[in-house]
């Protein structure tokens, strides 16, 4: 099976770890970026820094740059994101059977398991693979991570959309496709994602250690400040409050984890997780 990938350049955090985790699986990585170095909402973006990091993570020359005009403050950011992803996916589909669509802060810890499940999805005539991601929220000074979890600290998956799709798939919203049949993998026999219906089907189970690591807000203070400006979701958040909470939780991980059973919002519940291989890496 021939695999390609595409990424959107703009967020420099965790690029070497992310691309490096699946670099050996793919023949080509299409890197889509805004020609003017702007985000979808028009804010300045760290495209140059991202591109420099991507080039540094490409020893075999697999990266193909794809410039475009993706900024338009008058339009809904998610629609612009969908268009940018579609253009990148179309380019990555050439010469591939399936295309990996991971963000640059998402890491594949077990490439073998990941490719096995893409093959399994293909074997069942599915055209998209929903693979669980563990959302890591912050890293404490001690190196411990805060990870989203269930009410009693159980595993909780998140799905930003399929992270691998058949070549030629049409995207309908960000990474999602309205028409591609899904093969859905979770970390337990029953759905663990609170954003999905309780009875969402689980076609296969992987061990949590094999789930994608989404280094969501595991960033430096400067990177978080930039994210608050350029994120596609930026206008829907009270970033002053969010950043204050983020700093506080990172400073007090034990207290944050202890409050989990009493927290109503299922995406605000955290457990403490040790990931020694990423404990000292500068994002």
């Amino acid at each position: 099976m021939r695999l390609n990938a595409y990424v959107l350049a703009g967020d420099p955090a965790w690029i070497p770890e992310s691309i490096g985790s699946y670099y050996g699986l793919v023949d080509r990585i299409v890197v889509s970026y805004d020609r003017d170095g702007r985000s979808w909402s028009g804010a300045p973006l760290s495209s140059e820094q991202s591109l420099a990091r991507i080039r540094a993570a490409d020893p075999d020359g697999k990266v193909v740059l794809l410039a475009g005009n993706h900024a338009d403050p008058s339009r809904f950011a998610m629609h612009l994101e969908t268009e940018q992803r579609q253009a990148a996916l179309d380019a990555a589909s050439e010469g591939a059977d399936w295309v990996i669509q991971l963000d640059t802060d998402e890491i594949v810890p077990s490439p073998g398991v990941f490719t096995r499940l893409i093959a399994r999805a293909r074997e069942h005539a599915a055209e998209a693979l929903e693979f669980p991601a563990r959302v890591l929220y912050a890293r404490a000074p001690s190196g411990v991570f805060l990870e989203q979890c269930g009410r009693f600290w159980g595993w909780q998956a998140a799905y930003p959309g399929p992270i691998a799709v058949q070549a030629g798939t049409t995207l309908s919203f960000a990474r999602q496709s309205a028409t591609a049949p899904l093969y859905r993998v979770d970390m337990a026999p029953w759905n663990t994602d609170p954003a999905h219906p309780r009875w969402a089907p689980v076609h296969e189970v992987v061990h949590p250690r094999d789930a994608v690591l989404h280094m969501s807000w595991v960033r430096t203070e400067a990177q978080m400040t930039e994210k608050s400006i350029v994120s596609g979701h930026a206008i829907h958040r009270d970033w002053t409050r969010e950043l204050r909470m983020w700093r506080s939780r990172a400073r007090h991980p034990f207290r944050t984890a202890a409050a989990t059973p009493f927290t109503r919002d299922p995406v605000q519940r955290y457990r403490m997780t040790r990931l020694p291989e990423f404990a000292d890496i500068e994002p």
Partner: protein, 341 residues
């Protein structure tokens, strides 16, 4: 009818392989109970196949001779009796298999009408010697059914439930965990290797056709679904009760536990996990009943909603409990016979 019984049938394998000459001979077994009209239509369709089976065997569990009269109108079709009567479809399948010397056994329901190239297409995947069994597609006449469930056809889910979607029409042959009894086939050697067909599935006979598939799965055998071998499944009347009534639900819950425990073994994680799934399903039905109190208009509608939810929950629990008892008995019987599964 017999034109290809002893000669090699030339099969064209479409896009999946080069054309080959295959020596595969096939017996088609039809289990029936009091559906002579459907049987007539079923046999008529089988008589128009592009690749004819070596034999057709009808196994009749009816208490009357109406089906026998129909079969006698079709020369060459073999008629056998199942003396155990209604509720023993698996026994009918086993009776149909007795003395079979053909390489492939195909099963088709009496209310399933085969397309002219049904058998020809059903045999194509056997060109791969690793394929142990092949299931086909059953059109039910429901809108958009050809697109429903692509990507999850015929799976045993990690929570112990099964998916169906045997009306789906993907663009290729796909790997599955089980097949639809109305349209399936298996290598005779595999049936022999597994010790034949077992009948632990009384009542509505739900899951009886899945038993052999999961036993194959346990041994790592390859089962595929071909969307190109098509029958029109018209859905004949039930011998007793209606589809999806409480009796249907009870035997569904009971027989499912028996299926998992006896075909996969008690130590298989699906068995334990399915216990949790039953409890979750029970909770879901109770919650649905309680929600009806809040969301439905009128005392009668509320009472029906609550009663329906509670009834389904109780039926699921009682059925699953009865399944545990039946599975223990079946396991003991198998051990006495000297086969664990």
């Amino acid at each position: 009818m017999q034109k290809d019984a002893t000669t090699r049938a030339a099969l064209t394998l479409g896009r999946y392989a080069e054309a080959v000459h295959t020596p595969l001979s096939t017996v088609v077994v039809i289990a029936t109970y009091r559906r002579p009209d459907y049987m007539e239509e079923c046999l008529s369709h089988l008589g128009r196949q592009s690749v004819a089976p070596a034999r057709i065997v009808v196994v009749d569990a009816s208490p009357d001779d109406l089906t026998r009269d129909v079969v006698e109108q079709h020369p060459g079709v073999e008629y056998r009796r199942n003396p155990r009567g209604v509720g023993h479809t698996a026994t009918s399948r086993a009776i149909g298999l007795e003395g079979a010397h053909e390489e492939i056994v195909a099963f088709i329901d009496d209310d399933a009408y085969a397309e002219p190239d049904w058998l020809e297409r059903l045999l194509e995947p056997y060109a791969d010697p690793n394929v142990a069994a092949v299931g086909g597609r059953a059109r039910n006449g429901q809108s958009d059914e050809e697109h429903q469930g692509i990507g999850e056809i015929g799976l045993l889910l990690p929570d112990g439930r099964l998916t169906g979607y045997f009306a789906a029409a993907p663009d290729r042959v796909v790997v599955v965990d089980h097949m639809l009894g109305a349209n399936m086939s298996v290598r005779s050697s595999v049936v022999r290797e597994l010790g034949g067909i077992r009948d632990f599935y009384p009542g509505t006979c739900l899951r009886e056709e899945t038993d052999i598939a999961l036993r194959m799965r346990r041994r790592g055998m390859r089962i595929v679904y071909t969307p190109f071998a098509v029958v029109e499944h018209v859905g004949g009347r039930y011998a007793r009760g209606r589809r999806f009534d409480a009796r249907y639900r009870y035997f569904g819950a009971r027989n499912h536990v028996v299926l998992l425990a006896t075909s996969l073994g008690w130590r298989d994680p699906h068995v334990r996990i399915y216990g949790g799934t039953v409890l979750r399903m029970t909770r879901r039905e109770v919650v649905a009943g309680l929600r009806a109190l809040k969301h439905r208009d009128g005392a009668r509608a509320r009472a029906r909603g609550l009663g329906g939810g509670l009834q389904r929950a109780v039926v699921d629990l009682v059925g699953a409990s009865a399944g545990v008892v039946a599975a223990v008995r079946a396991t003991v019987a198998l051990r006495r016979r000297g086969s664990a599964t």
